[in-house]
């Protein structure tokens, strides 16, 4: 699957996150930037969850920027999934 247009999902409310996704050329891979208020405690876990959703949806090339305000895993999954669907 390929991200064709820039998309956005989520918000900057507490316990939510904002996902911005942009297309990248073939074999450019995944460029993932994470900015979280709980970076020190959950930064690695957020990366894990986002990567897993991308993989499950077959996204190989994309730029993703996450601004996290303390969202739970289920919220992160839902927002990333929505951003993907909007970008296909």
């Amino acid at each position: 699957m390929k991200i064709l247009r820039q998309t956005r999902a989520g918000s900057l409310e507490s316990n939510d996150l904002m996902v911005v996704m942009k297309p990248l050329g073939d074999r450019e891979g995944i460029k993932l930037e994470i900015n979280s208020i709980v970076q020190n405690q959950y930064g690695d876990r957020i990366r894990e969850v986002v990567t897993e959703v991308l993989k499950r949806n077959g996204i190989m090339d994309a730029y993703i920027m996450i601004q996290d305000r303390g969202a739970l895993d289920c919220t992160i999954k839902a927002r990333v999934e929505t951003a993907i669907k909007r970008g296909l």
Partner: protein
């Protein structure tokens, strides 16, 4: 006789302030305060160095002290609470000497016993006459109670009142009187009223806050303390003030009248006084305009000193007469120790204030907190900074359940009988981690940036500089 000095500089000269001395401030003007910055600016211009600043609290407005530290004007800090850019700079190791953190009761204890010696106290005076009779209820910067300034005025070698509202002699009412004040300085303004007190303190509309508060009120009822003459203190925000709201409803329903409400006083407590639900208010600090108006006009709204409020070194302080206190927490551990000083990254963002004092004094100490705050579980194996010891904390109330300190077996049984959702604190911790995942622990360098002194003077914890906090 007239004590008015021609300028702030003149008063500082008269006080014979010298390098290495300790000056003090009180924090009733909170984030609207101009006096701390004004005084340090003048001291800096006079070329005085190595000053220790003993301020009952410092706020974001005091950011300019960072420059005073860099310039060598300030060498040490001694506070009960500190937030904002200065607090972050301290966490990042800007001072060589660790900051001493005390409680609102520990500070007056240290001042009266002489372990905190003040050379010159600067009293931000909302109104004063030329002899130094001061109150906090008149003038453009009225803040209400001046409770925390009283030990400073009593014990400092020299006392300078800084006012923007000089009134004809004799001023009244009198909170700090002329027998204690050396000089009076008139300045344009001592503070920004919008930062001093908030307009009206409202009870939260957050439904989770009300679930927590509802449980907390049930806990008070089940403890057996909800009876004629009950005394209590709650915080001014969130679930803590909401607990007062739920407690008030129970008092009305049962026709119970309380003896006193205490603390930082808000309009909510003023309403309870005026509606006859409590006999008196004991007030060290006013949080909003309603409280300021009330302490000015209502003789049952009583101004008291920091010592009267919480000093464990005197012949009786008011926290020991409290039935119930409802407090917040940044973190609580499975031993019920509470942190209200450092954030989840170990950065300084607060302090005890009266937290550890009221917890020690009250018959029932309730901590109210959301189980998760921005994903972070409130219950940990070990708090980053121990401020209030677990053996003074009785109950943790969250929206998911209520944990009772195992030392309070009888209370636990009463809460179970009342059908409250009693859980082991370990279960609460597990429930939080199941939802949010286990947070990775943060790491620290071995540089000590702060020392936490318990109210009795013992060292209860140290604050370390977090790794990677050089920014």
């Amino acid at each position: 006789m007239n004590k008015v000095a021609a300028s702030l500089r003149k008063a500082i000269e008269l006080s014979e302030l010298k390098d290495g001395m300790t000056i003090s401030f009180h924090h009733h003007l909170r984030n609207g305060d101009y006096v701390v910055n004004m005084v340090l600016d003048e001291i800096s211009k006079m070329g005085i160095r190595d000053i220790n600043v003993a301020a009952s609290s410092l706020f974001p407005v005091h950011e300019s002290l960072i420059q005073n530290i860099k310039d060598g004007v300030i060498i040490g800090l001694d506070v009960n609470y500190m937030s904002g850019p200065l607090a972050r700079a301290v966490s990042h190791g800007i001072l060589d000497k660790p900051v001493t953190f005390r409680s609102h009761g520990g500070r007056p204890r240290a001042i009266h016993e002489g372990s905190l010696k003040i050379d010159v106290a600067f009293i931000a005076a909302p109104s004063s006459d030329a002899m130094g009779n001061i109150n906090g209820v008149e003038g453009p910067s009225a803040c209400g109670s001046l409770g925390y300034a009283i030990p400073d005025a009593l014990c400092a070698k020299k006392v300078i009142a800084v006012t923007d509202y000089l009134v004809p002699y004799p001023n009244s009412p009198i909170s700090i009187d002329q027998t204690l004040v050396d000089w009076v300085v008139k300045v344009d303004s001592i503070g920004d009223p919008s930062g001093i007190v908030s307009g009206t303190t409202r009870v939260t509309k957050d439904p989770i806050g009300h679930i927590i508060a509802g449980y907390a009120a049930e806990v008070i009822q089940a403890s057996g303390l909800l009876k004629e003459g009950i005394s209590f203190q709650t915080g001014a925000g969130g679930a803590s003030l909401a607990t007062a709201f739920h407690l008030k409803e129970k008092m009305i329903a049962k026709g119970i009248k309380g003896s006193f409400g205490m603390g930082g006083i808000t309009g909510f407590f003023v309403d309870m006084l005026e509606e006859g639900l409590v006999e008196k208010l004991i007030d060290v600090q006013c949080f909003d305009l309603d409280a300021v108006k009330s302490i000015k006009n209502n003789p049952d709204h009583v101004e008291v000193s920091g010592s009267f409020y919480a000093n464990p070194g005197v012949k009786g302080c008011a926290v020991d007469n409290l039935d119930v206190v409802v407090l917040g927490a940044t973190e609580i551990d499975t031993q019920f120790n509470v942190n209200v000083l450092t954030d989840s990254n170990g950065i300084i963002m607060g302090g005890s204030g009266g937290h550890s004092d009221t917890a020690a004094g009250a018959k029932l100490t309730i901590i109210v907190a959301n189980l998760l705050r921005s994903r972070l579980p409130i219950v940990l194996d070990k708090v980053i900074t121990k401020v209030t010891p677990g053996d003074t904390v009785d109950v943790l109330v969250t929206e998911r359940g209520v944990a009772v300190n195992p030392q309070r077996k009888e209370l636990m049984d009463s809460l179970k009988d009342a059908k409250l959702p009693v859980m082991d604190i370990e279960e609460l911790k597990a429930a939080a981690e199941k939802i949010a995942g286990k947070p990775r622990e943060i790491s620290f360098t071995d540089q000590v940036v702060g020392i936490v002194e318990y109210r009795d003077g013992s060292i209860i914890d140290k604050i370390y500089k977090p790794t990677g906090s050089e920014r």
